[in-house]
Structure formats: structure tokens, C-alpha cells
């Protein structure tokens, strides 16, 4: 399910956003989170992001690595420091704050 849109020329610098979305099966919350994330990234980070979706039902052992408790959880692996956003990402403003995109 990994997506990595390519080709889009970027207004920003080389900054790369490595994002990981943790879900547990195809629940409405997970699907909403993915859709919301996709939309926000396209609008604000076109061409500079990489989303990896991890389904913990298939890979339960991956939950502890990123200290996942809540589902869905979005982890911004890069740029550092690591940030986490929990919930279905329905509040775009807060997602942008969480990803540290607001100030820029």
C-alpha cells in the first residue's frame, strides 16, 4: 500500500517527509485517516513525501518499534524529531501543526 508520488516539481527544498501510517485492518477510521493524509500531503507536500501504511493486524510485531498504542497513528519519521499524530486526521489544521508545517 506504499505510495510515493513522483515527478511533481517542488517549491520547497530537498526536505523529504517520510511518513508512516499505522492502522489495524480496513476500518472506517483507518480509511478516513489514509484519505485525509493523502489529501493534506498532496496539497502541502507534493513530491516530497513518502507514505508507508503498516497494518498491525498483519505485522503485530511492528507496534512496539514506533511505540504505537492508538490507532490510527501517523508517525513522521523524517525530518526529525519524530512526531506522532493520533486519530483519523480529520482536523487538517492540527495535522499541519503536528507535522510542523504550520509555521513555515
Amino acid at each position: 500500500m506504499a505510495k510515493s508520488p513522483s515527478g511533481a516539481s517542488s517549491k520547497r527544498t530537498e526536505k523529504n517527509y517520510e511518513l508512516r501510517l499505522y492502522v489495524a485492518g480496513q476500518t472506517p477510521k483507518s480509511l478516513a485517516a489514509f484519505a485525509n493524509l493523502k489529501k493534506i500531503c498532496e496539497e502541502h507536500l507534493a513530491g516530497q513525501y513518502h507514505i508507508e501504511v503498516i497494518d498491525l493486524l498483519k505485522h503485530p510485531q511492528l507496534a512496539s518499534g514506533d511505540q504505537i498504542l492508538a490507532i490510527p497513528t501517523l508517525v513522521r519519521k523524517l525530518p526529525e524529531p519524530i512526531r506522532k499524530i493520533i486519530g483519523d486526521l480529520s482536523n487538517t489544521e492540527r495535522v499541519l501543526v503536528g507535522l510542523n508545517l504550520r509555521e513555515q
Binding site: A24, I68, L69, A70, I71, T73, K84, I86, G87, N91
Partner: protein, 487 residues
């Protein structure tokens, strides 16, 4: 394991042993099997240790692997903290008998947006349980989540789901909670855990710190309702009373000198058995403390460690008095071999005395323990209580292969009736000191009432306190001064 539900008489609640000495006795078998128990207490009350011991004992003694989900400490910290108690967590982890999953959540790095649940926690825990077939689970302490997740409504709903889920999993679980101001836990975890609630407490009473444990609730089971003192000792937690009347201690054949050569001669030439229990009884002023001090002096000269509990005299008083008969204990104190711990019996209750003595014994690790005199305990307890307490001490000393010397004060009338102490049957060697009147002269007399497992003298000997120690000799019935062998 589960029997058919129909057509059966009512089953007692199945229990799972904690392996914590004393606790399984007062709960009549342990914690409720397949249920969740709540262990709550203030900071430093021993919750983490309690729950870790539940898992370690499960893994090592009952073939029940366990999962420890730590919300406050890292796996490394946990392993270090319990290593001093001989728990080798790394080994258990390697053997797939234990999993430690340290949950770390930083409020500052979490942003909340929209609906979520705690399925990640369930998956982590479920995965850990399934991967080693865990039967026991600890969540320590899940209340941390209240500080980490802003949405309390979601959290409470999820906790409720978690406790149901644990029950369905059939694991015996402990969740720990921090004691609140006027509630059992700060965030009301007791609402979710209905089966068993244990409160741990660490408080100062009379300048002495005591740990206490109380079973507040145990649905469907009888349980002791008292507050029980407990210790965190060398091997983890033990709850008093320890009903250790199993008589399993092995008998030691090594011998130790009584510190008085003539007395050793009366005891088949070699003195007492190491690890035995010795009673020195006598009237006031008969020389009990002097005999105890000589014994201690000899032990310290051999390089052994001694712990002396005087209940009537202070340390300096004993040191001074013993110096007057040529027994110099001060150097042993200076070297750290000999430790005095003087208390009035009335200072605190019997249980507290036991706990304090256990603690000090664990700490000082002596080869010899003296209690002078044990009869003072009768001022703070009934005969039955005191006997039970002394039984426990004797058992404990024997199990630890410590030689115990107890003195006992008797009136002249009691001295004639030789069973009055009530604990005499527990004692291996019994020395009686008596004032005798012979031909109008007062003599101090010594004789051995019993000494298990060795031939011993049955004579009444004269007993003198000289400037150079205790001298024992033949009783001079002619009325002249008894002949005294040099010590």
C-alpha cells in the same frame, strides 16, 4: 482445566498462586485465576516489585509464562531494579518465559486529531501473550495513559474494553495503580477491576518504616482482612505471618563454642550445634546476659557476625557491664561484626518487632542472633501470640542456619516448673541458671536441661562471674567456696 458448567456443585473460584511467601496463605491460594487484580499504593510502595515477582514466580515455579507491560520504566531499568533480589529477567526472556514490553509515550510529541482507539495496545499485548503462551500479564501502571492521552472519554471506554479483553484471553492479570488522595487509585481504575483489590502501603510508624498489605476486596473468596506487614527482603516480598511450620530445615552437624570452655565440656566437649536454638533461662541477675555475651564474644573472635537484640538494656550498658567481667565486646562492634539493636518491647507491636528483626537479619546477615530476653514480649501480646511469634523467629533462624540464643527471665517458682516458657519444645539446647541455697550460702548454679542430639552433662555446676569471664566448676557442697577453674 475448566470443568463442565452444568450439573456440578458450585465451584470455588480457581486461584493462581503468587509464590509470594505468606500471601498465598492469606488469600487461600493466590490471585483469582483468569481474572484481573488491582494492586494499588503510593509511590515506592512496592507495586512494581510485587507484580514482577508474580510473573517471575509464575515463570519459574508454576510453568506460567508472563508478559510485563511497563508504562513507567524501560526494560533495562526493570531488570536492574529486580536483579538485587536474584531475579534474572534476561535469562527468563531468553527462555521465552517472560516478555517485557516497555511502553513509552511522550505527551509532547503526540498531536491528537479526530477519532481513534487503542487497538495498537491490544495488538501489542495480544502479540506478546500469544508468542510465548503467556498465562500472566502485568500492566504497570496503565494510569500513565491518562497523562499521555488527552481524550479521557476514549481512554475510559478503551480501558473498559481492555479489562473485558483480558478476561476473555483467560490470563491472570495485575494492573497497578497509584493511590489517589481519597480514592483507591488516582483515575478510578477500581471501577473496572471488580474481582480483587490489594492495597500496598509504606508508612512511618514510631520512626520505623513499615510496609503493609491489605486485601480490600476479593470477590467470591475468603481472605484475611487485616493489614499484614510485609518485607522486601533478599528474595523479594514476604508477607507476615509466614506459616512456615513445615520443619524442612536441614540439621547442621557443625559445632560452635559457647564461649565458656567448661560449658563446652558439658556439651560433649564441643559446644552447641551450629544453627540450633538455645535458651538460657534464669532468675533476674542469674547471669543470662553474661552467658549470652560470652557466646557472642566467641563467635566474633571466630570472625562471625552477630546481631544482638537487647530489650532491657542499652548497648553501652551491656558493653560496660560485660567489660567488668572481662568480656570486651566493643572491638567487635567497631569492626562491624557485632551489631546491637536495642528496643523496648512496648515501642511497637509484635508484628512490627518481627518485621524489624527479619529486616535487620536480612541486612546484617549474622551467624548468631541473640534476643535478650524474649520473655519481655509477654508484655505486648497474649501467650499464644508470643509463642507464635517466637516460633516464627526460631523457624526463620533455623531456615537461615543462624544460631539463635534467647534468654528468658523466670521467677524462682517458675524456674522449678520447667515448661513455663511455652516455647521450650522449639528449643534445641536449654541452659538453666539458678540461685541455689546450700548450707546457708547462696550459689549460682548452672545445668543443662536439655541438649538435643548430643550426650551432655547432667550435673548442676557452680557458675561464677569473675573479672576474667565466666567460670564454671564443681558445686562445693561442703559450704566452702566452689573451686574455680580458670576460664
Amino acid at each position: 482445566m475448566m470443568p463442565a458448567k452444568r450439573n456440578k456443585p458450585i465451584k470455588l473460584l480457581p486461584k493462581t498462586p503468587t509464590g509470594i511467601p505468606g500471601l498465598d496463605e492469606i488469600t487461600a491460594g493466590g490471585l483469582p485465576k483468569g481474572r484481573t487484580s488491582l494492586v494499588t499504593g503510593g509511590a515506592g510502595s512496592g507495586k512494581t516489585l510485587f507484580s514482577m515477582e508474580f510473573l517471575v514466580n509464575g515463570a519459574t515455579e508454576y510453568d506460567e509464562p508472563g508478559v510485563f507491560m511497563a508504562f513507567e520504566e524501560s526494560a533495562e531499568e526493570l531488570a536492574q531494579n529486580v536483579a538485587s533480589l536474584g531475579f534474572d529477567l534476561k535469562k527468563l526472556i531468553k527462555q521465552k518465559k517472560l516478555i517485557i514490553d516497555a511502553v513509552r509515550i511522550e505527551r509532547s510529541e503526540i498531536e491528537e486529531t479526530g477519532a481513534y482507539d487503542l487497538e495498537g495496545l491490544f495488538i501489542r499485548l495480544g502479540h506478546a501473550i500469544d508468542s510465548i503462551g503467556a498465562k500472566r500479564v502485568v500492566l504497570d501502571t496503565i494510569e500513565v495513559l491518562f497523562g499521555a492521552l488527552p481524550n479521557q472519554a476514549i481512554l475510559r471506554a478503551e480501558l473498559q474494553r481492555l479489562f473485558r479483553w483480558l478476561k476473555n484471553k483467560g490470563v491472570s492479570a495485575i494492573v497497578t495503580g497509584e493511590r489517589g488522595h481519597d480514592t483507591m487509585t488516582r483515575f478510578g481504575l477500581e471501577e473496572y477491576v471488580a474481582d480483587c483489590v490489594i492495597v500496598l502501603d509504606h508508612r512511618m510508624t514510631e520512626q520505623v518504616s513499615t510496609r503493609r498489605l491489605r486485601i480490600v476486596k476479593y470477590r467470591g473468596s475468603l481472605h484475611g482482612t487485616n493489614e499484614y506487614p510485609f518485607l522486601i527482603g533478599r528474595d523479594g516480598i514476604s508477607v507476615l505471618p509466614i506459616t512456615s511450620l513445615a520443619l524442612e530445615h536441614k540439621a547442621n552437624t557443625g559445632r560452635v563454642s559457647s564461649g565458656v570452655k567448661e560449658l563446652d565440656n558439658m556439651l560433649a566437649g564441643k559446644g552447641f550445634y551450629r544453627g540450633s536454638s538455645i535458651l538460657v533461662s534464669g532468675t533476674s541477675g542469674a547471669g543470662k546476659t553474661s552467658l549470652a555475651a560470652s557466646f557472642v564474644d566467641a563467635a566474633c573472635r571466630r570472625g562471625e557476625r552477630c546481631l544482638y537484640f537487647p530489650f532491657e538494656e542499652s548497648q553501652s550498658q551491656i558493653l560496660r557491664n560485660m567489660r567488668s567481667i572481662g568480656v570486651s565486646l566493643a572491638p567487635h562492634v567497631k569492626k562491624g561484626l557485632l551489631q546491637f539493636h536495642a528496643t523496648r518491647p512496648t515501642l511497637y507491636g509484635l508484628e512490627m518487632h518481627l518485621v524489624t528483626m527479619y529486616d535487620l537479619i536480612q541486612e546484617h546477615k549474622p551467624q548468631v542472633v541473640v534476643m535478650d530476653p524474649i520473655t519481655d514480649f509477654f508484655t505486648i501480646g497474649t501467650k499464644t501470640e508470643v509463642k507464635a511469634a517466637i516460633t516464627r523467629i526460631v523457624d526463620f533462624l533455623k531456615a537461615s542456619e543462624i544460631t539463635g540464643l534467647f534468654t528468658s527471665i523466670m521467677s524462682e517458682e517458675e524456674a522449678a516448673d520447667q515448661s513455663v516458657v511455652g516455647v521450650s519444645s522449639l528449643i534445641d539446647a536449654w541452659i538453666s541458671l539458678r540461685n541455689l541455697e546450700i548450707n546457708g550460702e547462696r550459689h549460682r548454679g548452672l545445668f543443662i536441661l536439655k541438649s538435643r542430639g548430643m550426650p551432655h552433662s547432667s550435673q548442676v555446676r557452680s557458675f561464677h562471674l569473675t573479672g576474667s569471664g565466666i567460670a564454671i566448676g564443681a558445686l562445693d557442697l561442703a559450704g566452702r567456696r566452689a573451686s574455680v577453674n580458670s576460664a
